[in-house]
Symmetry: C2
């Protein structure tokens, strides 16, 4: 299941073979599976790479490094999601395992041409790409126009939207990761958590586990920012 996709797709029988998007499975050449420990880098920004990847299990962050040592996380990837697929030969971001990961590697060119050769798969894949595009575009609004509190609210709200069952959210990433995802500092994120707690909107079980105690309040503060969503 994906980690932060606003536009969820039907991941029906995703156990036998990790799907590209919903029911599609790559007909590509048997791909190799690699394992990464938490903290390991999968590829680097600017690196020539003929591969793209599908996450079988774990959590991956993809980010850009800035001159001053800063960092902007482009996206978190969860089970089944494709990443590292570029339109040019080199990787545009750095990818790093947040938790221990199992990853399927594909030859980029073969992957694309195998997508192209099946009409059904193409449609699914194009729709998946469009969904990813819009996920990214949603974040433009987030980064460009929201306050710190709204950013963190929205982040938690979307996480909860894809929660298995319980109301309890387990954060697999650090505060620093969240900050780098939201274009904030770690301190501001921490303060936002404190503020949300004080408002009674969330309850912190531990620093990594929390419950959204007032989902409606969070929802409305989110859509106070975005006009309709």
């Amino acid at each position: 299941m994906s980690v932060l996709s606003t536009y969820q797709e039907n991941n029906s029988q995703s156990h036998s073979e990790p799907a590209v998007s919903g029911r599609v499975r790559p007909v590509t050449t048997p791909a190799s599976v690699k394992h990464y420990k938490a903290g390991e880098t999968i590829y680097f920004e600017g690196e020539e790479s003929p591969y793209c990847f599908q996450l079988i299990d774990g959590l991956v962050k993809e980010y850009n490094t800035l001159e001053d040592g800063g960092c902007q996380i482009i996206e978190f990837y969860g089970d089944g999601e494709i990443f590292g697929l570029t339109e040019i030969r080199e990787q545009l971001h750095t990818a790093e395992a947040i938790t221990d990961c199992s990853v399927k590697c594909f030859q980029r060119d073969r992957f694309i041409s195998s997508i192209a050769c099946s009409t059904d798969m193409t449609e699914q894949f194009v729709l998946n790409l469009l969904a990813r595009l819009h996920r990214s575009q949603d974040r433009l609004v987030m980064l460009g126009r929201m306050t710190a509190l709204q950013k963190v609210s929205t982040f938690l709200f979307r996480l909860s939207g894809m929660n298995d069952d319980s109301e309890e959210i387990h954060l697999k990433m650090t505060r620093q990761d969240i900050a780098d995802y939201l274009g904030l500092t770690i301190e501001t994120v921490s303060r936002a958590f404190g503020e949300l707690k004080k408002l009674g909107w969330i309850k912190l079980i531990s620093s990594r586990k929390l419950v959204l105690t007032d989902l409606e309040a969070i929802r409305s503060s989110v859509s106070e920012a975005t006009s309709l969503r």
Copy 2:
């Protein structure tokens, strides 16, 4: 030619038939051409719409409106570019003509399936979508991690990169549009222009026409922000 694409594609014979991406042309049913005057809205956020569009001529902005009246421009679209193509039935953003525009309308579903039925076209289109995705992701870094001056520098630098020939840049959009694109206010954008002028990096011919007089300084200030680009 596209307006703000970091990843440019070869728009070779784009005169006879506006291309999807490079040499591809939609085999879709003969599409109707519509004309919009500057300021007219092409579609609204949340609107049910079976169409997607290809800009023949003009400049279009796509944006999201916020509760407080604020606005985040998702993207500017220039000649030949596809917009309004979503993975669901409704439009996610509002599109508005900045200049007078000619626009080709396609049936969304037919458009996608016609893409899918030709292997060659699919590959081109997927690469185009990937380029658009990365264009959007680049902006995440911009919005999340850059100062106002860096945002405006980067904006102008990328505009110049797709300039026809001369060093002179003609801004077809207002300061407000630029602000809404960069997640700033109109005042801050204006001040940034002033600062760049004072630094001797740009020369303002008029408020809408300018020359990048020190491209290297601008370039380096941009890549002071991003580690490598």
